[in-house]
Symmetry: C2
Subunit: 338 residues, 2 copies
DNA sequence: CTGTTAGCGCTTTCAA
DNA sequence: TTGAAAGCGCTAACAG
């Protein structure tokens, strides 16, 4: 690193290091002409202050960490984009850590983050995390933590998530308004609270529009694609064949697609399908398929905004718990790049 | 930050700071019993060395920057994953910066990276970048740069990219081996070198298998989806209806899908389609559709590996230009999460 | 084997 | 309005 530093600037200008430092941060205690001289030389010499020296001295790194289970998933990718956007706006840098859905990695990362490397952390838990001591440790070190999407109930911290109830409601409403009379709901692992809430929204949607709730139209799917396929097929072969399907996750919508293909049913003419999705797969089901998109980008921005509000200590010490962003109904064009 | 530091450890143990420092880095000049005492107390007090102090002192941050045009694109997301994996293995941290395809942002980021914040940079150019002075500045500051995917010919630096010629060849070969006799090729903006190379691969593939090359089977598509759709439809309605299509980008494969749907052609029974893709859209075309996937993850790992090799100064100062990773033919199962 | 010392480059009192 | 000086926490000569 052959970089110029304050000392060199100071020597060149016959000023003290401290004066140069102050001038560069536009301190009011420096005369305008001096500032000008300093600015000019700094630009000329392409001076870049050493961030680590500054961090060491100020105990602030202007860096945050984003810890997520994976990135090869449009949801998290968009969230990162939201976070990065806000971060750069505020002059922060973003470190990224992937847990790969491994609790052990999450813990190791959390431990390493105790070093003061970052001023704050935005985190989405990996699926299997139960014990959250490693996160409490972070908070004890005064490193603010903001959860998003996959939150933990056991920790007091701001949480940014989608309003799954509302999302389920909107999806159901959409199908009913589109003329469906037998709306099925495909769920996944009911142990997840999101599934639960989406189903609540589904039921409330039916109720709101005076549709009967039929337990046979709710299929609890699991992780075995084969089994899911069979269950969905059975549903379509039964006397309760749905004319609308609300799939809680996109892979289930894909299964519906395959079932319909096998049975010679057309989408969306015979069966309308709506699904949560941040992928583009869905656009193939129909050129104008409607999806429920988690507002990933907005969630990222929101999480970052909340974190920075804490970091800049705006004296709002209200632990604003649970910000719920509404899901968005989206008609997607098929826009994809290579 | 209430963190413990070396001084506190030293006091507690009646040792000097430097001894503790050395012990923690497992220096050979410290006795085993002393090391043990130090380790134990460090663990007990949950000591985490301040990375910024260390960076300041050593002029190395063990941090790299990844600069990419966007992240909401499976290719770059996977690349990040590859980079992060290698980085964590080597004990490095990864800062992420998005240019949003804006040259101005790319330049600003490059400028800020001159501060010594990172030891090296992995970068994929944004589409419009012509002038690469900002990157030369980085190199002049002795910050190694590794390109991946979107490389610049104007700069001497390692470049990791996919072998587009080979990819085009493989795709064509696959269709021919699957029994296709009239393989069409859908290209995009021939100004891009990747399109050019893929087409070369296509032509060489035909030649290799003694298939005639028919200019009518090559459609140069543009950015207007409507127009592309019409051109593809015309091709299928002509007397040269293809039984195999090699789409250079996925969105063109999608258009083929729509055209086939309209014309009542089945995929893959009547027409086989193969496409470049790192998205999962393709899996819908057929449960077992074959795609040509850019080896994004591997490219990320490769780029990171090359970068770290430089950083760790293995005295291999061979500027290993242009590492070309082969594209991979993939039969994809439809694996998607919410 | 361990300690002393002198910084890394910057910020921030405290003086002038 | 400017300067001198004391560190932030850690590392690396150089001594012992």
């Amino acid at each position: 690193m052959n970089s110029v530093n304050l000392k060199q600037l100071a020597q060149e200008l016959n000023l003290s290091v401290s004066t140069v430092s102050r001038a560069l941060r536009d301190s009011w205690e420096i005369s305008t002409p001096t500032k000008q001289r300093v600015f000019d030389l700094a630009k000329k010499m392409n001076f870049q202050p050493n961030p680590y020296a500054s961090s060491l001295r100020k105990h602030r790194s202007r860096t945050i960490a984003v810890v997520i289970p994976e990135v090869a998933n449009n949801f998290f990718a968009l969230a990162i984009k939201g976070i990065e956007t806000v971060a750069r706006e505020k002059g922060y840098h973003v470190l990224i850590y992937l847990t790969n859905e491994e609790v052990a990695e999450e813990m190791a990362i959390a431990a390493s983050l105790q070093s003061g490397r970052v001023d704050g952390v935005i985190l989405s838990l990996c699926g299997s995390t139960q014990d959250t001591r490693h996160l409490l440790d972070l908070q004890q070190r005064n490193i603010p933590l903001v959860f998003f999407d996959r939150v933990s109930d056991g920790i007091t911290a701001p949480k940014v998530m989608t309003n799954d109830h509302e999302s389920g409601f909107i999806a159901t409403e959409h199908l009913i308004k589109a003329g469906c009379r037998r709306v099925a709901h495909l769920t996944i692992s009911m142990s997840l609270s999101i599934s639960h809430k989406r189903q609540q929204g589904y039921e409330d949607g039916l109720r709101r529009y005076d549709q009967p709730w039929d337990p046979d139209l709710v299929i609890h799917c699991g992780s075995d694609e084969e089994v899911n396929y069979r269950m969905i097929k059975e549903l379509f072969l039964s006397d309760k064949r749905p004319d609308g399907v609300f799939a809680s996750v996109e892979k289930l919508a894909v299964q519906v697609y395959h079932v319909c293909r096998e049975l010679g049913l057309r989408i969306p003419e015979d069966v309308k399908v709506i699904s949560f999705s941040n992928l583009v797969t869905a656009s193939l089901l129909s050129p104008s398929l409607t999806t429920i998109a988690q507002p990933a980008y907005d969630m990222g921005k929101e999480a970052a905004t909340i974190l920075f509000r804490r970091l800049e200590k705006k004296y709002i010490v209200v632990p604003e718990d649970r910000v719920m962003l509404p899901a968005k109904l989206e008609v997607r064009a098929s826009t994809m790049s290579s």
